[in-house]
């Protein structure tokens, strides 16, 4: 993530010599990097949604009607989680805010988002099992339940994400 990993153009190097600009740019690049990574996660979650639609489309007649309720709930929850990732906070506080966001906090945010990839992988595996169960005509309520559990945990994690930006120890009120 450091400057030494990539080559900067002349203008980019020059502009970083302006006092205060380098810190601003470093933070901005971390935020952009995190946003790009989350964009990849969103793409994967979208692929899971399309996969779920495929499962629904594969069902016919009474079986389709019977499964529709569970599948609807699953798709809606997945859409909610996808939006939570897509529109997650970038990590910004104003100039004179007491709880500042430094490069360390932004790095923690990126690490947190990297961890989400494991949950997405779990969802992809669960979707595979669900698809197989649906194709073979087995009841798949257990599979949809399993996927919902993963999504609920995912949402729980996302809710705690903004806590990473608050370092109460370091940002104690001054006397």
């Amino acid at each position: 993530m450091g400057d030494e990993e990539r080559k900067l153009g002349f203008l980019e190097k020059a502009i970083r010599l302006i006092p205060g600009y380098k810190g601003y740019k470093n933070k901005e690049e971390r935020r952009d990097n995190d946003q790009l990574f989350r964009g990849q996660l969103v793409q994967k979650l979208d692929a899971v949604r399309i996969g779920l639609n495929e499962v629904i489309n594969g069902l016919r007649g009474p079986a389709a009607l019977a499964a529709a309720g569970d599948m609807d709930r699953l798709v809606k929850r997945l859409e909610q989680v996808t939006d939570e990732v897509r529109f997650a906070e970038r990590g910004y506080r104003g100039w004179f805010d007491m709880h500042k966001v430094r490069e360390e906090e932004l790095d923690r945010l990126y690490e947190f988002d990297s961890g989400l990839a494991e949950d997405v992988a779990l969802l992809e595996t669960a979707l595979g099992s669900l698809g197989e169960a649906a194709r073979s005509g087995e009841p798949f309520t257990a599979h949809t339940g399993g996927m919902l559990d993963i999504l609920f945990k995912f949402s729980g994690k996302m809710a705690s994400r903004s806590n990473l930006l608050i370092d109460l120890e370091r940002n104690r009120p001054m006397d």
């Binding site: 952009d32 946003q35 964009g39 979208d46 399309i50 779920l52 639609n53 629904i56 489309n57 069902l59 016919r60 007649g61 009474p62 389709a64 009607l65 529709a68 309720g69 599948m71 609807d72 798709v75 859409e79 529109f87």
Partner: protein, 373 residues
């Protein structure tokens, strides 16, 4: 004329625009270093020299074009006032969800119902969409238009919805009477079924709701009548209800204004009344002969008062003992029986001096009261 270094941004005041081209008309000639600002709810597709170079997400982007100061002016001179040949345009795509789009059937859908045979159904509802793949959407649907609104695509999407829904209803539903409990399910299946149709244009169907699926008015009326019939219990009650309604209607008609219309109303009322009466008689007659025969079979003649009474030990009319009992097994015996229905004992055979037949087991003649020897 090559434009100066500029800041390119787009804010939608109408709330209806899905795609907005910058500049809205003519070719764009943005200079190198122009700043493109993209909002969080937007994406920008950057075209340079007619080629889609990429999709730019939220943020500020410094555009790289070949419109370099001085050089562009120099090259542009060769094109006699047509400006720079280095064209650059930006298509802003709104990524927000366009809600409250409505769909509905212009023509009814023919549906084969298990109970009502062929029914024409009308349906309507709401849906919402958002652009999922900006590049795909711009290239497949927008082309080079300067402005593309949700209204422009709504008609096409409605057509797709109706066509898929007709298919889905035929596959999943057996009777429209089941509709009330499967609205949500049909909505879910419809959304999944429509997803492919929408996504091939880079659109995501975010929500799909069915507000109502209704048969035509005349079928609804028949359904209501059937429900009333069910509530009333049986056919006779229904016919009486219908007759009463018809008579009441006819009475109201009669008291209306005079002239030919009254005559027609009265005539129709009388005719209808006659028809109803006939129908009622028929319906009543259907039950009456059977009931009459059953009742006649159930009655017996009292040996004392000679009246037809229900079978009992004592006559409800005169209070005297009815019938007799078998002398062998004691079972009750109907009047005039020749054998006991229980043990087969031959009965009767005794006749009084007055000529009346004396039932078996009787001590006195039921006619003259003379003691049986």
């Amino acid at each position: 004329m090559v434009k100066k270094l500029e800041i390119i941004e787009w804010l939608d005041d109408t709330g209806k625009e899905i795609v907005h081209r910058e500049p809205q008309s003519g070719s764009g000639e943005f200079r190198i270093g122009s700043q493109l600002v993209v909002r969080e709810s937007q994406e920008a597709v950057f075209f340079r020299d007619g080629k889609a170079m990429g999709v730019l997400g939220p943020g500020r982007h410094t555009l790289t074009t070949q419109n370099i100061p001085f050089l562009t002016e120099l090259v542009g001179m060769a094109f006699e006032g047509e400006g720079s040949p280095f064209r650059a345009e930006v298509y802003y795509v709104s990524k927000k969800t366009f809600v409250d789009m409505k769909w509905g059937t212009k023509e009814p859908i023919i549906f084969r119902d298990k109970e009502l045979a062929m029914v024409r159904l009308r349906a309507f509802g709401q849906f919402s969409i958002k652009v999922n793949e900006s590049l795909l959407f711009v290239n497949k649907l927008v082309g080079t238009e300067g402005r593309y609104t949700a209204d422009a695509i709504e008609g096409f999407l409605k057509g797709v919805i109706i066509s898929r829904l007709a298919d889905l209803l035929g596959e999943t539903l057996e009777s429209i009477f089941d509709l009330a409990r499967v609205y949500d399910e049909i909505g879910t299946l419809g959304k999944a079924r429509l997803a492919d149709d929408f996504e091939k244009y880079g659109i995501q169907l975010v929500d799909f709701y069915i507000n109502a699926i209704t048969p035509p008015e005349e079928v609804q009326k028949r359904i209501d009548e059937r429900s009333s019939m069910g509530a009333l219990g049986d056919m006779n009650a229904y016919m009486r209800y219908k007759t009463a309604t018809a008579i009441s209607d006819a009475a109201q008609n009669e008291s209306g204004g005079g002239g030919a219309a009254t005559g027609v109303g009265l005539g129709a009322g009388v005719g209808m009344g006659a028809t109803m009466a006939q129908m009622m008689t028929q319906s009543l007659n259907q039950g009456q002969p059977q009931q009459g025969a059953a009742a006649a079979a159930a009655l017996v003649v009292c040996p004392s008062c000679r009246k037809q009474v229900p079978p009992a030990k004592f006559c409800p009319e005169c209070g005297k003992a009815m019938g007799a009992s078998c002398p062998k097994c004691g079972a009750a015996i109907a009047n005039g029986a020749k054998f006991c229905p229980e043990c087969g004992q031959k009965l009767g055979g005794q006749t009084c001096s007055c000529g009346a037949e004396i039932p078996s087991g009787s001590k006195f003649c039921p006619d003259c009261g003379k003691k049986v020897e």
